[in-house]
């Protein structure tokens, strides 16, 4: 287990601290600000690269795969830098939960898949759904692994230098 938050779900606080309204308000504001930015970037990309109905939704496909990659890299970086407190927790919630959560979308992915299936593009729908899931997973996996490997090399080099 290598997650900064210790749990499987990186979007939430593992043990929600005593709920002080002000603390909770700041957390929500941070996530909302990030989510606003991520959503606007996704919207602009969708406007710049529209995909016609009945075809592979390339824009959302790449948005989701790149978002999964960056989230994997971000969370592993934060995890090797230290415990999930202070600026690291704020970065996880603001950038991870907020920006990248807002940037990527599951609802558009699911509705696009369903629409392709409904318009008799069954093979395309199945291919799009599976390719998105597999590539998103692979992207998050490779990013997590790469950051961990880089960190191990740095630690090793430091130990050798100290000898």
């Amino acid at each position: 287990m290598s997650g900064a938050s210790g749990g499987t779900d990186p979007d939430i606080d593992p043990q929600p601290p005593r709920r002080r309204p002000a603390w909770r308000g700041r957390t929500l504001l941070l996530i909302a600000a990030g989510g606003a930015l991520g959503s606007v970037v996704r919207d602009r990309l969708g406007v710049a690269f529209p995909t016609p109905q009945g075809q592979w939704p390339w824009t959302i496909f790449w948005v989701n795969v790149t978002g999964a990659f960056v989230l994997g890299a971000l969370l592993e970086t934060l995890a090797v830098l230290g415990p999930d407190e202070g600026w690291r927790r704020r970065a996880r919630l603001g950038v991870g939960t907020g920006v990248l959560g807002g940037y990527t979308t599951y609802s558009t992915f699911a509705v696009d898949t369903a629409s392709l299936g409904r318009s008799d593009h069954l093979v395309l729908a199945l291919g799009y759904a599976l390719a998105s899931i597999v590539l998103g997973f692979a992207a998050a996996y490779v990013a997590t692994w790469a950051v961990g490997a880089a960190h191990r090399r740095v630690v090793l080099r430091r130990m050798e230098a100290a000898r």
Partner: protein, 121 residues
């Protein structure tokens, strides 16, 4: 103006995801992270309803962009879903990772189909 509304809606959606996810995780001690599944399935149902409704009745203004791209796009997340599957796998739970990814996919697409049908009525 629309862009500002999309930003606002996307922010509200992301905050709603955090609240829903936290609420679910606090109540459901499931073996799989159920919070993100519930968020993505409910968001897919709602976007299906919206898309079906707009398809049948037309879009008065930028409803689809603000509520679909903004609110529900900000509410649901693909990146967290991917990372959760990776964490399950790295935690030695290969079956859990595949179950998590496939259950979320099948339930979300089914919810989207139901939404598209009902919204188009």
């Amino acid at each position: 103006m629309t862009l500002l509304l999309i930003a606002l809606a996307g922010g509200v959606g992301a905050a709603a995801r955090f609240l829903t996810d936290t609420w679910v995780a606090g109540r459901l001690q499931a073996r799989l992270p159920a919070g993100t599944i519930i968020v993505n399935v409910s968001g897919s149902l709602l976007l299906g309803l919206l898309t079906g409704w707009v398809g049948a009745h037309g879009d008065p203004g930028d409803v689809k962009a603000v509520l679909g791209t903004g609110l529900l796009g900000g509410y649901t997340t693909f990146s967290t879903a991917s990372v959760e599957a990776v964490r399950l796998l790295r935690g030695g739970r290969e079956v859990g990772a595949v179950t998590h990814a496939l259950a979320m996919l099948v339930l979300s697409v089914a919810a989207a189909l139901i939404g598209l049908e009902l919204g188009g009525l």
